[in-house]
């Protein structure tokens, strides 16, 4: 686990702290967002994810800590090159979508002509080219979400900070969004996104940061997090598996008839279990149980 490498991470968050009155919403949060990787930001409601992202974007002042870009405190000009999708989505209700996307890009310093070309290209890609002149209120929620992500992608960002980019998307849209993010990570861009959907995060992310009550409780690559969890094996025998309770070097997490879930306390003990099982009769299944992210999450946040 640990704090992870700071090498290869253009964007790094160091000791960010924010209080609202007496409540510390974000308490010395530090983690890197490695270049070319998808970093998933996980935590329950009120864990401090949105507050952290807002501080990274400079929308909210940090009371302590800093955001580093290439090793030094990030500047306003560098922030403008980060694509941002806030938790609370919003666009002008009464302006053509293409026009406001061009406007938002021009606020981020892009030449309006170039911005229009880039916007039209992305609208085309998301199948929204014919809707370019429509007002936002006429679009479906899914399409509004697409417009919102386009806003983060024009101009070509140096990093992406996305607050709940998958919320409200159907499975197909989730896949195309994931593909889009991958496209940016393959350019070498660091991507940080928050989500409630743990299985999705598990499937997509190169790295995870888990927050609870304003603090980072654990972080690392998916493999690192799993390695940190308990080593478990599942055994399914032909007869009752209750005998495993008496064996040394293991902890029996669960026995249910012919199935037993074992936690290895002393390394190598699982081999002795298998020998015993074979001696006692047919073994139908014996496999290493890789902990699911939700289990790691529950353990980390409990």
């Amino acid at each position: 686990m640990g704090n992870g490498p700071s090498v290869g991470a253009m964007l790094e968050i160091k000791g960010l702290t924010r209080r609202f009155g007496d409540k510390t919403a974000v308490d010395h949060v530090s983690f890197p967002v490695p270049d070319g990787g998808l970093t998933g930001f996980v935590g329950g409601n009120g864990a401090g994810k949105t507050t952290t992202m807002r501080m990274v974007m400079g929308v909210l002042q940090a009371h302590d800590g800093e955001v580093l870009w290439d090793g030094t405190p990030i500047t306003a000009a560098e922030r403008r090159r980060i694509g941002y999708m806030p938790e609370e989505r919003g666009l002008y209700p009464k302006q053509a979508i293409a026009d406001q996307l061009v406007y938002l890009a021009s606020l981020r310093g892009m030449d309006p002509g170039a911005a229009r070309a880039a916007v039209m290209e992305l609208l085309e890609r998301f199948g929204l080219a014919e809707r370019a002149k429509d007002h936002v209120e006429k679009l479906s929620l899914g399409n509004q979400q697409r417009v919102q992500i386009i806003a983060a992608l024009v101009p070509q960002p140096d990093a992406l900070i996305l607050d709940e980019p998958f919320s409200g998307l159907d499975p197909t849209a989730v896949d195309s969004m994931a593909g889009l993010l991958r496209e940016h990570t393959s350019r070498g861009v660091p991507v940080l996104f928050s989500s409630h959907q743990l299985d999705l995060v598990d499937r997509l992310c190169d790295r995870l940061v888990i927050m609870a009550q304003g603090k980072v409780v654990t972080q690392g690559t998916a493999e690192e997090l799993r390695a940190g969890g308990p080593v478990r094996y599942e055994l399914v025998t032909a007869g009752d598996a209750g005998w495993v309770r008496d064996l040394p070097g293991i902890h029996v997490a669960d026995v249910d008839g012919r199935t037993a879930l074992l936690e290895v306390v002393e390394s190598g003990a699982e081999q002795r279990v298998l020998e015993q099982a074979i001696r006692r009769g047919p073994v139908e299944e014996f496999r290493r149980v890789v902990p699911r992210l939700s289990e790691i999450y529950q353990e980390a946040t409990s």
Binding site: G36, E66, A77, G90
Partner: protein
């Protein structure tokens, strides 16, 4: 997080932005500095308004209205009214003939056409049926002008002047003297030190028009500004804007955009008004007014900017469009105060008021127009107004910045001031 000035960050951005692998060429694209972002914001404010049909229609209608009012004014001034006046006997007929002769000399907009009726009943009937305008009749003590309704004032002036002249001349002859002898030493000539009577009336009218224009423009564009602020807040787009540019730039852009619109509209109205006026009898004063109008526009500009900051704050304190009514209440009150102050202050109070911002933005141009002031007075008042505007901008900016990202309901100024960014 460290706080640094924009300048240092810009400098750093250019010196150390060396993209690493995979960042592609787009990272090296030159990007305009954050400092110019207000221009984009202002541009949008103007464009959105200029493509708003309601705004365009109301502007065109107003221009047409100004043109129409001035055209009617010019028409009325130049129109000659002809009155048919009948008589029933030769004495009266002779008098009407004299009136018809003299009418153009007394009032060049009045012409009298003489006619006869057989008797009193016929004459009365003709007046009653509006076939003629009046019936002039000799009575024992003098003359009677019979009309259906109230006699036209121009006509009665002409008639009574001629009748009096004629009667006086007759009486003078009877008394053995002449008209000239009788009238010697009776003339009173009015002499006005500042300008003349006609100009004074014009100046008063223009002063009120200025006050109304300022009031209307401030309310209209102030409301526009406040609702465009709350629109960004309510639609939540403000967070994306805040991530891209400093909120100070957003505020500046909005104020500048709306000021350009308000000022442009005002200049258009004033321009149309002046051009129109030059076609009326008041045309001779247009050149003399241009100095005063210059001051009016200068005061309008600064006064509008000062109030615009307050409108922006009213928008930022609201969290839904419906809240603007209540958050903008203090400004509407202030505007009423300014407006009525301009109309009702008199004497010393008016002189003092014309230096006190923001009332000065209406009162001083009115006094300049009336020719009550020396050159340094509007200059000083403008300076005070500028100082006031700068102070207001600083205070407003802080409240605006703090209130803008608070989306949980309506805020009070106090809360917004204390909120942490």
């Amino acid at each position: 997080m460290s706080t640094r000035t924009d300048q240092t960050s810009q400098a750093e951005a250019t010196t150390r932005h060396t993209p690493t692998t995979g960042r592609g060429t787009e990272a090296q694209q030159p990007r305009t500095a954050t400092r110019g972002a207000w221009l984009q914001v202002a541009r949008r404010e103007v464009l959105v308004k200029l493509t708003d049909k309601g705004f365009l229609i109301s502007t065109v209608v107003t221009v047409l209205l100004i043109g129409a009012v001035l055209a009617i004014q010019g028409f009325m001034q130049n129109r000659t009214s002809t009155f048919d006046v009948v008589t029933t006997d030769s004495t009266a007929a002779a008098m009407v003939d004299r009136i018809a002769d003299r009418a153009p000399d007394i009032d060049d907009k009045v012409a009298v056409k003489a006619g006869t009726e057989s008797d009193a009943a016929a004459a009365r009937a003709a007046v009653q049926d509006e076939k003629v305008d009046a019936w002039l009749q000799r009575t024992d003590s003098g003359w009677t002008l019979v009309t259906k309704d109230t006699a036209d004032s121009d006509l009665s002036t002409v008639v009574s002047t001629v009748v009096r002249e004629t009667a006086l001349a007759d009486n003078a002859t009877k008394a053995g003297t002449t008209m000239a002898a009788l009238q010697a030493g009776t003339t009173v000539t009015a002499q006005q030190l500042d300008g003349n009577a006609e100009r004074s009336g014009l100046v008063t009218a223009l002063g009120f028009i200025f006050a109304i224009l300022f009031y209307l423009a401030s309310i209209m564009f102030g409301m526009t500004l406040a609702s465009s602020v709350v629109e960004e807040k309510q639609s939540r787009i403000v967070e994306m804007i805040a991530a891209a540019i400093p909120l100070r730039q957003l505020l500046a852009g909005k104020i500048i955009g709306n000021t350009v619109l308000a000022f442009g509209q005002m200049a258009l109205y004033v321009g149309v008004g002046l051009v129109g006026m030059s076609f009326t009898d008041y045309g001779k004063y247009v050149a003399g007014l241009s100095g005063s109008i210059g001051w009016f526009l200068a005061f309008f500009l600064v006064g509008f900017v000062a109030l615009a900051c307050l409108w922006a704050v009213a928008g930022a304190l609201a969290s839904r469009t419906e809240d603007i009514q209540s958050t903008s209440m203090p400004i509407t009150m202030l505007m009423m105060l300014m407006y009525f102050g301009a109309l009702f202050l008199d004497g010393t109070a008016r002189a003092i008021g014309s230096f006190i911002p923001p009332v000065s933005s209406i009162l001083m141009p009115m006094r300049v127009l009336a020719g009550e002031v020396s050159w340094w007075e509007p200059a000083l008042a403008l300076l005070l107004l500028v100082a006031f505007a700068v102070g207001l901008i600083l205070v407003s900016e802080r409240i605006y910045r703090r209130a803008l990202l608070q989306t949980g309901g309506k805020l009070s100024v106090k809360d917004a001031w204390r909120t942490q960014e």
